[in-house]
Symmetry: C2
C-alpha cells in the first residue's frame, strides 16, 4: 500500500476509535490489527501517539472548516444553514453513538499532550468564529451555542437516544438561543 493510503487508513480508523472511546483508549495495536499491519509500522507514519492525536484533531478541524465555508456561501436561509450545521454533530451520534472528536478530547483535556491540546483548541475557536459569522453575533454568543450543541451531544450519548439530541436542539431554538 502506498504511504498516503496507509496513512489515511490509520487516520480514519484512529478517528473512529477516538470518537467511540476517547484518546486514552486509542491503541496502536488495535489500529494495526484493524487494518492488517503491525503496530510498529504505525510509528513509521506517526512517530508518537501524540503526533497521531494532533494530526487527527488538525485534520478534523480542516475538514470541518472546508464544509462550513461551503455551507456559509450556500443559497439557504439562516435556520436551514444552522440545521445543516447541527446535522454534522447529529451524524456522529448516528454513527454507532460516537461523539464529535472535539467533545471527547475536550473531556480528556487534562490528559492530553500539549500538541494535541493546541489542535483541540483550534476546533472550538474555528466553530465559534464560523457561528459568529453565520449569526452576525459576537463570539461569546457563538461560543455559547457551540457549547450547548456539544452538551446536547454528550447527554444524548449517555442516553443512547438520538431523540434526546433532537429535542434538546429544539429546546434551544424554542428558547431563542439558536436560530
Amino acid at each position: 500500500m502506498s504511504t498516503t493510503d496507509t496513512r489515511e487508513t490509520i487516520m480514519a480508523v484512529a478517528k473512529a476509535m477516538v470518537q467511540a472511546r476517547g484518546y486514552n483508549a486509542l491503541s496502536f495495536r488495535e489500529i494495526a490489527k484493524d487494518i492488517g499491519i503491525k503496530s510498529a509500522s504505525i510509528h513509521y507514519h506517526f512517530p508518537t501517539k501524540a503526533e497521531l492525536g494532533a494530526a487527527l484533531a488538525k485534520r478534523y478541524t480542516e475538514d470541518a472548516l472546508e464544509g462550513l465555508e461551503q455551507l456559509l456561501a450556500a443559497d439557504l436561509d439562516l435556520p436551514a444553514k444552522f440545521d445543516r450545521y447541527v446535522s454534522v454533530f447529529r451524524a456522529a451520534l448516528l454513527n454507532d453513538n460516537r461523539m464529535c472528536l472535539y467533545g471527547i478530547m475536550a473531556a480528556e483535556y487534562g490528559d492530553l499532550p500539549p500538541e494535541v491540546r493546541t489542535q483541540v483548541d483550534a476546533f472550538s475557536a474555528a466553530n465559534a468564529d464560523w457561528l459568529s459569522r453565520l449569526l452576525e453575533s459576537d463570539e461569546a454568543r457563538a461560543l455559547a451555542i457551540f457549547a450547548a450543541i456539544e452538551g446536547a451531544q454528550l447527554v444524548a450519548r449517555g442516553r443512547g437516544d438520538i431523540a434526546v439530541f433532537d429535542q434538546t436542539i429544539a429546546a434551544y431554538r424554542a428558547a431563542g438561543l439558536a436560530p
Copy 2:
C-alpha cells in the same frame, strides 16, 4: 485507619482524579500512592475498578441530590436558585480546571463498564428531574438546560478560562434558555 475512613479517602482521591483526567486515567497505584497505602489494599475496599467507578458515580449523584433538595426548599427566588445550581458546576472548574464527574464519564461512555454506566445515567436523570421541578417545565426543556451547562463546562475547560463558562451561562440567560 478504620475501614470507613480509608474507604472514604479512596473515594475522595479517586473522585478528584476522575474529574481531572477521566475514568480511564484512574489508576489504583496512583490512588494508593496519594494516600500512603499499597494498591492491593484498595482491592480490599473495592474489589474491581468498575465497582469503584460505580460507587463514585453513585455517591456523586446522592450528594448532589441532597444539596439540591435543600436548595429547592430554600427561601430564594428562581434566578437565585438557578445561580446556586450553576455555581456547583462552576466550582469544579475552579478546582484545578476539573470537570463535573458526569460530564467526563459521559464522554468516556463507550469505554465504561455497565455498572458505571448505570450510575452515570442516574445523574443526568436526577438533574433533569430537579430542573423540571425548579422551572415547573417539562423534562425535555430541563434536560436541555442541563446539557447546555455541561457543554459550557466542557468548552470552558478547553479554554482554561472560567470567564468563558460565565459568559456562556450569561448567554443562555440572555437568550431565555435559562432563568
